[in-house]
């Protein structure tokens, strides 16, 4: 049972790492601020969710697992709000949306 738990945890952590990697690639390669915000916020939040799930399986107590879940919720809220504010600030500064040419 323990080995199965470890394998599932490892799989979830690797999935989380993959999403973080995808978010970072998006940050580096996407053409303008708004696209990068998309990539970063969505991929990173999902990646963090997987990591939290993997760690919660390893934690061994409901209290720690709930705390991890709460951390993920807070990051979700703060990350989405921050992305909204950055996008609003970029719009105000006149950054234009990228058009496919």
């Amino acid at each position: 049972m323990n080995v199965l738990l470890d394998v599932i945890s490892a799989g979830l952590l690797i999935a989380g790492a993959f999403f973080f990697l995808a978010g970072t690639v998006g940050l580096l390669r996407f053409p303008d601020v708004y696209n990068r915000l998309h990539a970063l916020t969505k991929a990173d939040n999902l990646g963090l969710g997987f990591v939290v799930l993997g760690l919660a399986l390893q934690s061994g107590s409901w209290a720690v697992a709930l705390k991890l879940l709460f951390i993920w919720l807070l990051v979700l809220i703060a990350g989405a709000s921050a992305a909204h504010l950055v996008a609003g600030s970029a719009l105000r500064d006149g950054v234009r949306l990228w058009e496919r040419r």
Binding site: L74, I77, A78, S81, H84, L85, G88, S89, R92
Partner: protein
Amino acid sequence: MQRPASVRNGRRRYAPVRAVAAFLAAAVALGLGWAVLSLPEPATGLTGRVAAEMGNSGVSHPVTAVLLNFRGYDTLLEIGVLLLALVGVWSLRLSPARRSAEAARTPVLGYLVRLLAPLIILVTVYLLWAGSQQPGGAFQAGAVLAAAGELLLLAGFVRGYFRRAWILRLALAGGFGVFLAIAGGLALFGNDLLEYPEGTAYPLILLIEGALTVSIGFTLAALFFGSPPEAVAERAAEDEA
């Protein structure tokens, strides 16, 4: 914004100076690494002596015991330095930075801050309380409280000064004041400086840490805001005129 032209153009001219500086920095880093690696293997240090005295210290976390009991004098001076830094920043008499137009402000920031500020205060109290048994303590709790202060200032929920000025000054100086009063009081009544009497270590440490947390939070947030209350009042008067 770019670095100023003097810095950009100086790069070519001062290349030899920078090379020497880089070499010296690398030499220091390597020397430090060698010194750390050649320390004796079972770490001889003060860990054993601290562990032996933990029973007398009033708390069960060695870092807190060292910061607030065994080396309390250092912490007292650190708070003084923090207060001095704020006095230095205030002496510049910066005016408050102009906030962008009201129309640009979305309600999202307000919702976020309304959600986060109470949570941050909860975390502050928890860090302060847990500091006697686990990693935590006054500085960490104070820094987290300063984050709450910064959020409130950025979202416009507080103005950067209190109508009754003494509240702000009390919050800023209270930590240092309480610590100094306890230290001085102990010295007056026959103990050495900061030698807590038998059995009173824990309540005194808690009292000092509480005052320190509030002070550190307000001081760091005031450092972030930058403008002394007089400058904020000036700007408010200007804007109305």
